[in-house]
């Protein structure tokens, strides 16, 4: 049972880790508090599930989910940079509209995918034929590991390009990067698109992994993403982009693990999860400050 729980947590941590990487881009790189997340995650699930049940290939469906997510990010970006609506409100507006849009896309609140082809059924068949010795119970783990790893690597490489550097500078010192000739509205929008594309991708994979898309599955996604980013930060710090993105995925795994731990000990029931997550985030947010406070009172601060 323990082994199974561990396996499930790692699987979930990896696939939700892709979403957390999306949150990392806006929160840490762009310094933009984007609440689109709770809408773009189920958007990815809705687009993928609807296309799959209407007979499209699960790969096409997943690709479409990525595009839909990018579009959601674009809307938030335009609301913020074009219509000059605050970051928080822009995200909330998109997120709220997406609730209606997701219902429209799905046509009903829930789409089961149990007997539908998904990227996993295709993969399972492929593996059965090509690598008959491969233990199928690990197929999710291996797929997610490759997936999350590839996405993390691509993100790290992207952030080392000229555009990636500009994105980082946009979050760090927008005045400076404008004086180097970068339109920060454009970099913000690009970051929001990439972030929400990843979040929607995560939603699309989760829907196919759990076997359904539900219009309510996005609630609290931002908090889970936030928790992962914060735990990652506490684990590995901000030495480099590579370590901090790795930290985000580790944070996501640890987060899922602690949740299943709490549930397995019957310390709480599934409906308490959102509350628990919020508590985890509050604790994670206050621990570093508490540590700093302690350190500051023992060793004089650097500035002094």
């Amino acid at each position: 049972m323990w082994q199974n729980m561990l396996l499930k947590s790692v699987e979930q941590g990896l696939v939700f880790g892709i979403m957390a990487l999306g949150v990392y881009i806006t929160l840490k790189i762009l310094n933009f508090a984007d609440l689109t997340v709770d809408g773009s995650f189920p958007l990815g699930a809705a687009v993928a599930a609807s296309l799959i049940i209407s007979g499209h290939s699960p790969f096409t469906a997943t690709a479409a989910a990525i595009l839909a997510g990018a579009l959601a990010g674009l809307i938030t970006g335009i609301l913020n940079t074009g219509a000059k609506i605050s970051e928080l409100l822009s995200g909330i507006l998109t997120m709220t509209s997406l609730y209606s849009i997701n219902l429209r896309i799905m046509g009903r609140p829930n789409i089961p995918l149990l007997n539908e082809p998904t990227i996993f059924t295709s993969l399972q068949e492929f593996v059965k034929v090509q690598f008959p010795v491969f233990p199928l119970e690990y197929i999710y783990l291996v797929t997610f590991l490759l997936f999350a790893g590839a996405i993390e690597l691509m993100l790290v490489l992207f952030l080392k390009t000229q555009l990636g550097l500009s994105l980082r500078a946009t979050g760090d010192n927008p005045q400076m990067i404008r004086s180097q000739g970068v339109n920060t509205n454009v970099t913000k929008i690009i970051g929001l698109c990439i972030s929400n594309a990843l979040i929607a991708l995560s939603g699309a994979i989760v829907a196919q992994y759990q076997g359904f898309a539900d219009v309510g599955m996005g609630i609290g996604t931002i908090i889970a993403g936030l928790a992962s980013v914060i735990i990652g930060d506490a684990l590995l710090g901000e030495r480099s982009i590579l370590t901090s993105t790795l930290g985000v995925i580790l944070g996501s795994i640890l987060y899922r693990f602690s949740i299943s731990l709490v549930l397995s000990f019957r310390l709480a029931q599934a409906s308490d999860l959102k509350l628990l997550t919020a508590v985890v985030v509050v604790i994670a947010l206050t621990i570093p400050r508490f540590k700093n406070f302690m350190r500051g009172s023992i060793i004089p601060s650097e500035r002094g």
């Binding site: 992207f158 080392k160 390009t161 000229q162 555009l163 990636g164 550097l165 500009s166 980082r168 500078a169 760090d172 010192n173 005045q175 400076m176 990067i177 404008r178 004086s179 180097q180 000739g181 970068v182 339109n183 920060t184 454009v186 970099t187 901000e238």
Partner: protein, 264 residues
């Protein structure tokens, strides 16, 4: 090469805090000018630079650069030909990025939206050369985050970033104002060297009268949003602090009172 024509600017127009900073300010900057600007607090020196850089839009008047009307060009587009260093060492660099990453942004100024690598061996070589030129030991710290540098090192870095890709015009706003006197001298020397070597047209706001007289070929004194003195050539070369203050009194009919201004 740079012409400001009849610029007017009022902050918070139509509110009780209305503040008319410029009302018909004109200025012509010639190719190769190194202009130092002094003036009392609130005279509008920073606003002047912000207007040239496009950070603050004007209410009226026109700005021409090389004959082209740039009055409505947004800041990030003007950045292609304007280099800037601010008073606050925090403003000119990205603190949580490394020295070489910051330099890379300046190296490809105005073409930073590409998917080419930000850092290559060749670029690092170039950055090293630039940094060893200023002998602050920064060439050994390429991979360190900028937030670990001192204020003077950051200003020197910002100055390099502002001039690495030769700008048509360099705007310096009291860029040594937050530094200790020793570091200020280093950064000032570096400024003179770069401006001379690269022949960059420069406007430098300073609170140090001596620097303003010693450096550059032309000196502007601003007062209440007007350019009250414009001293050039031989007259500038023969200028002393006493003569400058006397001249101010002649023009303005009042004493030059400024506690922030350093007389020596």
């Amino acid at each position: 090469m740079l012409v400001l024509e009849n610029i007017s600017k009022t902050f918070n127009a139509g509110t009780p805090n209305e503040n008319r900073v410029f009302d018909g300010l004109s200025l012509e900057v010639n190719e190769g000018d190194f202009i130092t600007v002094i003036g009392s607090n609130g005279a509008g020196k920073s606003t002047l630079l912000n207007i040239i850089a496009g950070v603050i839009p004007v209410d009226g008047g026109k700005i021409y650069l090389d004959g082209k009307n740039i009055t409505n060009l947004p800041e990030y587009k003007r950045a292609a030909f304007i280099g800037r260093v601010f008073q606050d060492p925090m403003l000119g660099t990205s603190p949580s990025m490394t020295v070489e990453e910051n330099l890379s942004l300046a190296y490809s100024r105005a073409c930073n939206i590409s998917l080419r690598w930000g850092l290559t061996a060749k670029k690092r070589q170039i950055f090293k050369r630039y940094l060893s030129n200023i002998s602050l030991g920064l060439e050994e710290r390429l991979a360190e985050k900028v937030k670990s540098l001192s204020g003077g090192q950051r200003q020197a870095l910002t100055l390099i970033m502002a001039t690495m890709k030769k700008p048509r015009i360099l705007l310096l706003d009291e860029h040594t104002g937050a530094l200790d006197p020793k570091t200020a001298i280093i950064v000032n020397d570096l400024t003179e060297r770069i401006v001379k070597e690269e022949k960059i047209t420069t406007i430098m706001v300073t609170h140090n009268l001596e620097d303003a007289i010693r450096m550059g070929n032309r000196l502007l004194m601003m007062h209440h949003g007007k350019i009250v003195l414009d001293i050039r050539g031989k007259e500038k070369a023969a200028m002393t602090i006493e003569r400058l203050l006397k001249k101010f009194e002649e023009v303005q009919g009042e004493k030059f009172a400024e506690d922030r201004m350093m007389l020596a």
